[in-house]
């Protein structure tokens, strides 16, 4: 029995309280469980990969705190790296490696004009426990009528995903890429994540 019984009479609280804004679910950055599990599996499988590789695409951005909604995993590497990864993930491969060139859905916006964007890479596709994985070797980008850019190259950052150390395409490179394409909304999202990860006064 209760030690004390007091009337459940509501009482006004005379103290000021701290205003609190609870974020909406869509504002919270979370990597979904299937993509997370696949990322861990891939990270472990490629621990001893000799060629340079890194998670790219939206998964890489979520891992670094950017609020985007990935639906598949992408890895950037070289052509040789793509073949090596295919050997390591052979049981999950659903399409053999080959050169693929295609137009992406979103146009670039340069000097207030829209331009079609094409990408070309030596690509292999996988299904890792229900999650799609695209591995791009020597990815190149072409905007409008300009020439193809050089194959993407980078020095990866590293993130520990549930204890598994994995390479990630740096946000700095992504930000520069998006800026060049005129995708300022994506630049802004990266900026928000970077602000949240940095010391305010230095």
């Amino acid at each position: 029995m209760p030690v004390l019984r007091i009337a459940d009479k509501p009482k006004p609280i005379p103290l000021p309280y701290i205003e609190s804004r609870i974020p909406k679910p869509e504002e919270l950055v979370i990597l979904s469980k299937p993509l997370l599990d696949a990322t861990i599996l891939i990270g472990k499988a490629l621990t001893n990969c000799m060629n340079k590789w890194a998670f790219g695409g939206d998964v890489a951005e979520v891992i670094l705190g950017v609020n985007v909604q990935p639906n598949h995993i992408a890895i950037l590497t070289s052509r040789e790296g793509c073949d090596e990864i295919a050997r390591n993930l052979a049981t999950y491969q659903i399409e053999p490696a080959g050169t693929v060139e295609r137009e992406i859905e979103r146009d670039a916006k340069v000097d207030l004009k829209s331009h079609k964007v094409r990408i070309k890479s030596y690509t292999a596709r996988f299904d890792v426990q229900g999650s799609r994985l695209d591995v791009h070797g020597d990815l190149q980008i072409k905007v409008g009528d300009w020439d193809w850019g050089d194959p993407l190259d980078f020095e990866p950052d590293y993130v520990y995903v549930v204890g598994v150390k994995v390479p990630i395409v740096p946000l700095k490179m992504k930000s520069e890429l998006y800026t060049g394409l005129g995708w300022m909304d994506r630049v802004s999202k990266i900026h928000e994540a970077v602000v949240r990860s940095r010391h305010m006064f230095g």
């Binding site: 209760p2 609190s20 950055v29 670094l64 993130v159 549930v162 940095r198």
Partner: protein, 632 residues
């Protein structure tokens, strides 16, 4: 006009939203972790939601406001506690913030006390779970009686091996940094150093020069040093719930006086590790700025039916639920049980054989005596002081060799070196990034020559310039439960709503002092090996010479899990089994206050963490079975 509002019923109602509650929220609300059940979870906290950028990034550097004004902390006028050293004294309430660390005032809002802690962690070893039986088996009952008069020491309901998988889950969820625990073999048979089935998910912070010096000296003396275990992410991290974590930026304002919140979310707590995942699930409702004052029970079944709380406007809300989780900090967990008539209240008696009840029983303090036996020295030109930009707990090195039963405690045996008998010991370490802020205001303890003027300036110079490093240690063996230290309801003082405050009856136990007498000599040897000068043992404090007069506590026990229903509140599933007229099987609880016994691993939080996963598992089973009985 304030009114009474009945909320929609939930499957799980969580009381308080701190470290342990975050685990329950994530594990029960996310279908991938709860067996794809559409459980609805509601969590209620008296404080706000904290966002590390919006709430802390530009305001945490207010040393006066944070350190003294306690602007992030629980307002004392709302609720406090009373304290006394013995049952024969009149307990007085804490009315003002008097010390840099005010644990009773922390724990306000989402994340709880962990918003303000130093981030130090460390597993409790196998001996910690069997202290009573191991001591009796090795040294005899009379030895324990001598070491701990009026002993109320109990074994835990499970062993370290049982908790080990839950430790792993806890460490993954919060991104703990470390590199095993000093064991040469890391085998389950290596009982002295907690073996680990999986290493910590993040590497330790880089060692400071002082940490390296300690490491070298400890190794030379035959100890097994290892990097301090920290909850401040040393690297970018993603936990098992998919929550990305920013790494520590070593901003200089961190754990010094345990005041400074983290502005990047690197310092682990529920707000930045588990609650976001629960919120994302769509099955979780967070209620903030709401003060829980009662749990309703059904007079027929005895089960808890609802939690009652005040909102900021003074309305009373009734939150019905199927299962309840008590995740309130410290004595608040005990207080809500006593106010609601749940569990058997502890009733003290001067004759230890005549005490009864369990709610409030077994209170211990995991912190060293405020003015205990100490040893100090000066290390010239070490350079450790060139790293003031701290992260609170990282960068240092520890040894477990002088804790638990890792050396012979028997009377007359060599290990004790002529010291009074005690059990356990201490984790000894050195070299952490200071991280207390440039000023590190300490006026709260009273203005002195050390806190202002020339002496203060000289201290600051030593702290930031490569001149000299002061080494100091106040080791103690851990505090043991006795029948004389406990929590009950104060008969005189109330909170702002008129309900009795928690009353703490507490003083240090002899074990803490006697261990210190032994340990300072060992620490002196290490300091000397490091090359420190003028290494001296400042004073040797005998039991009873100094009483507890400090309001800051690392409270443990008081609402214990256990294997004996008459002395513990929770069973091995952290499910309430304290005998009352009606069983109250649908409330679970976990926290430092549920630790069966203390130990001198610095973080009772780390030891409590596995209990939260155990409780989550228990709640899942309870919801599946719905038999309203004890889980087996």
């Amino acid at each position: 006009m304030p009114t009474t509002i009945t909320e929609p019923a939930a499957d799980v109602v969580i009381l308080g939203v701190g470290y342990m509650s975050g685990v329950i929220a994530a594990e029960l609300s996310i279908p991938k972790f709860n067996g794809n059940k559409p459980y609805k979870v509601v969590a209620i906290t008296k404080g706000p939601y904290w966002d590390y950028v919006n709430d802390f990034s530009t305001t945490k550097y207010d040393e006066w406001g944070v350190g003294l004004g306690r602007k992030y902390d629980s307002p004392l006028p709302l609720q406090s506690a009373t304290i006394r050293n013995t049952p024969y004294q009149f307990a007085l309430p804490v009315r003002r913030y008097t010390m840099p660390i005010q644990y009773h005032a922390l724990g306000h809002g989402v994340g709880g006390a962990a918003q303000h802690y130093g981030g130090t962690m460390g597993r409790q070893g196998p001996w910690g779970y069997t202290q009573k039986s191991s001591t009796i088996n090795r040294y005899g009952q009379s030895f324990l009686d001598t070491v701990n008069p009026h002993s109320d020491l109990e074994d835990w309901p499970l062993t370290y091996a049982d908790y080990e998988p839950y430790y792993v889950d806890w460490e993954k969820a919060h991104g703990l940094c470390g590199d095993y625990n000093g064991s040469a073999t890391n085998q389950p048979s290596d009982t002295g150093y907690p073996w680990m089935s999986v290493n910590y998910p993040l590497p330790p912070s880089p060692l400071t020069p002082l940490g390296q010096s300690f490491q070298t000296a400890a190794q030379a003396l035959g100890y097994h040093p290892f990097p301090h275990v920290s909850a401040l992410a040393s690297q970018p991290y993603v936990n098992q719930y998919g929550v990305p974590v920013n790494p520590c930026v070593y901003d200089g304002y961190c754990g010094g006086p345990c005041d400074y919140a983290c502005e990047t979310g690197a310092k682990a707590n529920a707000a930045y590790r588990t609650i976001p995942a629960a919120m994302k699930s769509g099955n979780f409702t967070l209620v903030v700025n709401s003060f829980i004052f009662r749990l309703d029970t059904d007079p027929t079944t005895g089960l808890v039916t609802a939690a009652r709380y005040y909102d900021p406007q003074g309305n009373v809300h009734i939150q019905p639920g199927t299962v309840f989780f008590n995740g309130m900090w410290g004595y608040n967990m005990i207080r809500i049980m006593l106010l609601s008539g749940i569990g058997a209240p502890y009733v003290w008696n001067s004759d230890p054989t005549l005490v009864s009840g369990s709610v409030g029983r077994g209170l211990t303090n995991g912190y060293l005596p405020y003015r205990g036996t100490n040893v100090s020295g000066t290390l010239p030109n070490n350079g450790g002081n060139a790293y003031p930009a701290g992260n609170g707990s990282g960068g240092s090195v520890d040894i477990y060799d002088l804790m638990d039963d890792n050396f012979d405690h028997g009377p007359g045996l060599s290990g004790l070196n002529g010291s009074p008998p005690f059990i356990g010991g201490a984790e000894i370490g050195a070299g952490g990034y200071p991280g207390g802020g440039p000023g590190n205001i300490t006026f709260a303890g009273g203005v002195s020559s050390a806190s202002m003027g020339g002496t203060f300036k000289a201290t600051q110079k030593d702290k930031y310039l490569p001149t000299k490093t002061t080494l100091s240690s106040t080791p103690s063996a851990h505090d043991l439960p006795t029948t004389d230290n406990y929590v009950d309801l104060d008969p005189h003082y109330t909170d702002i709503y008129g309900d009795p405050l928690a009353r703490l009856t507490y003083d240090w136990t002899p074990n803490t002092y006697n261990g210190a007498t032994f340990l300072v000599k060992k620490v002196k040897d290490i300091f000397t090996q490091m090359g420190a000068q003028n290494v001296t043992i400042g004073s040797t404090v005998a039991p009873g010479a100094v009483h507890n007069d400090w309001w800051g506590h690392h409270l443990r026990g008081g609402c214990r899990i256990g294997a004996d229903q008459s002395t513990s509140v929770w069973n091995k599933w952290n499910q309430c089994w304290s005998p009352v007229s009606k069983p109250v099987f649908n409330i679970f609880g976990a926290g430092e206050i549920t630790n069966t016994s203390g130990d001198n691993v610095p973080s009772g939080t780390h030891v409590a963490g596995p209990q939260s996963y155990r409780a989550a598992e228990g709640i899942k089973q309870y919801l599946l079975q719905m038999t309203h009985g004890l889980l087996t």
